[in-house]
Each structure stands twice: as structure tokens, then as C-alpha cells.
Symmetry: C2
Subunit: 215 residues, 2 copies
């Protein structure tokens, strides 16, 4: 049949263009022309441009969030079983690793991750509102796990440190594939995902674990 083909092609094209040009700067005509389908197909299949954005998010965010949630729950479970607190590093890794590794899961996944990076730092946009709705419960679980991992750090500080970590992650994600940033001499453009993930995890878990009170 031709239904899923058309819908998928629209989703792929929208994902690609939203990630690169942003939501408001991408027209339905650009999407349909890239997808090779008729203009009316978007409104027919999805209802509106906004609903299309929602669909773009849902298609990948649901399995990705399940993966991240399972990871975190596994960390909590292991800690509970061994009668200890969850570790900061393993908790952050449980959340961050699937996010960065997700890029390798398929052709359009890379576009999607860039889109997520944009959405996280898009302070008031339509994009962000949609994103927040999908990520809020997972964020809550992540925050609570880190609170357990850091009993001596006040919740406010844990919250902000987590925001810093997410900011760092979203920034490096949204940099992915962009070449217009001014690279200093002697710096190679980008490593493989694994080593970049390792660098990021080292950075954020070190900052997160800083003893409290800060002297």
C-alpha cells in the first residue's frame, strides 16, 4: 500500500528540515516537495503543521524514552538489590548514552537528535512546549534518582547541576554535523560518538559529584 510510504516520507522530510531550519522557518511546501508528495498530503494525513511536528517527535521519542527509562530503572534496581545508593555516573550514563547513541540507529535518527537538541534549548517556542510534554516524566525520574545518589547536596543544587548537564548535552548534540563553527588549530572536528560520550559523561559526572558544601 502507499499510505505508510507517504506518511513516512513526510515525517522524514519534516524531521530533516525542522532540524536544519527550525520549525517556523520550514514551509509545508518545502517539506512536501522534499518528500515528493502533494502539498495537501500533510493536512490530510496529519491535520496541521503543528500536528506534524508532534508526530515527528512521537515517532522516535517514545521508543527512545522507553530505552532511557529502562536504563535508569535498571540502575535503580541494581542499587536497591545491592543495598546502596545509585551512582551518579551510571545514572547520567543511563540517560545520556542512548541519546547520543541513538544517532546511529537509522538514517533519519541523526536529524532527529539535532531536532531534540534544538527543542531543549528553544525557550518558548512551539517546539519546546511539545518536547517538554514528552520529556517531563522522564526528567522527574532522572532528577529523583540523582537526589538519591547525592543525599548531601540540597535539591536545588542537584536540580541546577542537572540543568547544566542537560545543557551541555543538548549543546553538543545540536553541534553535531555542523561545520560552521570556528575550530581552533590542532583540534580535530569531531571524534566518534563513543569517545565524545565518554568525554561528556566524565565532564558532567565530575561536576555533578562535587562535594557539598562547596568550600
Amino acid at each position: 500500500m502507499s499510505i505508510p510510504d507517504t506518511k513516512e516520507r513526510i515525517l522524514d522530510a519534516a524531521e530533516y528540515l525542522f532540524a536544519r531550519r527550525g520549525f517556523h522557518n520550514t514551509s509545508l511546501r518545502a517539506i512536501t516537495s522534499r518528500a515528493g508528495v502533494n502539498l495537501a498530503a500533510v493536512n490530510y494525513h496529519f491535520g496541521s503543521k503543528y500536528a506534524l511536528l508532534e508526530a515527528v517527535f512521537q515517532r522516535r521519542l517514545i521508543p527512545l524514552n522507553r530505552l532511557r527509562r529502562d536504563n535508569i530503572e535498571r540502575v535503580r534496581e541494581a542499587a536497591r538489590r545491592e543495598g546502596r545508593r545509585p551512582g551518579v555516573r551510571e545514572t547520567l550514563l543511563a540517560f545520556i548514552e542512548p541519546t547520543l547513541a541513538f544517532r546511529k540507529s537509522g538514517s533519519g535518527a541523526e536529524d532527529y537528535i539535532v531536532l531534540v537538541g534544538r527543542a531543549m534549548s528553544d525557550p518558548e517556542d512551539t517546539v519546546r512546549d511539545v518536547f517538554i510534554r514528552h520529556i517531563a516524566p522522564l526528567f522527574h525520574l532522572l532528577f529523583e534518582t540523582l537526589r538519591e545518589a547525592l543525599p548531601e547536596v540540597p535539591p536545588d543544587a542537584v536540580f541546577w547541576r542537572l540543568q547544566f548537564a542537560l545543557g551541555a548535552m543538548s549543546h553538543v548534540i545540536s553541534m553535531a554535523g555542523k561545520t560552521n563553527l570556528p575550530l581552533p588549530d590542532g583540534v580535530t572536528p569531531v571524534g566518534d560518538v563513543e569517545s565524545l560520550t565518554a568525554l561528556l559523561i566524565d565532564f558532567v559526572s565530575t561536576g555533578m559529584e562535587r562535594p557539598w558544601p562547596v568550600q
Copy 2:
């Protein structure tokens, strides 16, 4: 005279709206109506919407960058005078502190800082290209200073750690004033700028100073 009044009013309105709605989602009519001036005034005074964006950036970025540059140079100078390497923490503080503190410098400054936060994380937008042009030399100075401060860490790692730090900063900046984020129980919405800056500096300098090689 009425020229500077009109131009300033346009700049203020554009700054306000660009920060909240983004560049593409802000119309010239919204700007001029907020500024209380005629629609044609933008094209008369600035030439185009794009040139207006550039002017919005320049108005505050030039003095802000001078402040940050002077701060970093002062750190380098003190280190040279005392025959030691520049410190990681003081270097990051020299860059970050003016950025966050700038919000208190005037009425529209808060809008501007949010706009900067957006621009930094706007991966391919017009906004980002304009911003990169203005910030590139300063970024280079910051990077080189950190390289001197961390001789045992390879330049690639210093580069990425700096990106993480900037991502954390830009994220917390673009969160400023936003209330739609889901705050967990027991977390107060936002502290004053000073304590938030302290938290951020603690976080990023800890991650930046992590010994190399990472065990």
C-alpha cells in the same frame, strides 16, 4: 531629536521579541507596533530585518565582549606577572560572570541575554551565523587561555570541555525568565544571579579541571 529615540525603541522592541519568539517567528509589524513607530521605519533606519538583527546584536555585544576580553586578559596578565599558569576557575569566571551579570545592567539587557542564549544553541540559523561572527575571536582567546591552564589535557579534550561549559551556560541563560519548565517539588524556581553563577562556575570548573588521562 527624534532619530535616536526611534532607533532605540525599535532595537528594544526587536530585542524583546526576538528573545521571546525567535527571529523567524517575529514580524516587522509586531516590532514596529510594540515600538510605537511606523512599519517603514525599520527598513528606513536599518535596511532590512536581517540588518536589524545584526544591529540588535552589535549594540550590546561589543561592550559585553570588551568586558569579557578585558577580564580574560587581566587573568592572563596576573598569571604572567606571578610566573604561573592561568587558573581554570578564574578564566571561566572571567568569561561567564559578565555574561550572567550583564542582565542587571539595564532594562533590555535581560532580553538580550536570553537572545544570546538562543543564538548559541541555534545550530544553523541566521541568528547563529551573525552571533558566531562576533564571538569567534573571543572564543579563541578563551580556548587558548584554557589550554595554557591545562597543559596535561590534550587540546581536543579542552575544546570539548569548553563546549560543554558553554552549553551549560547558554542553557541556563535561555531558561531565565521561563516558568513553563516542570519544577520538581522542593525546588525553588531560581536563585539570585550571584548564587546561580557560583553554582555554574563550580560545576564547569570542576568538570574542566578533571585530571587527564581519565582513569
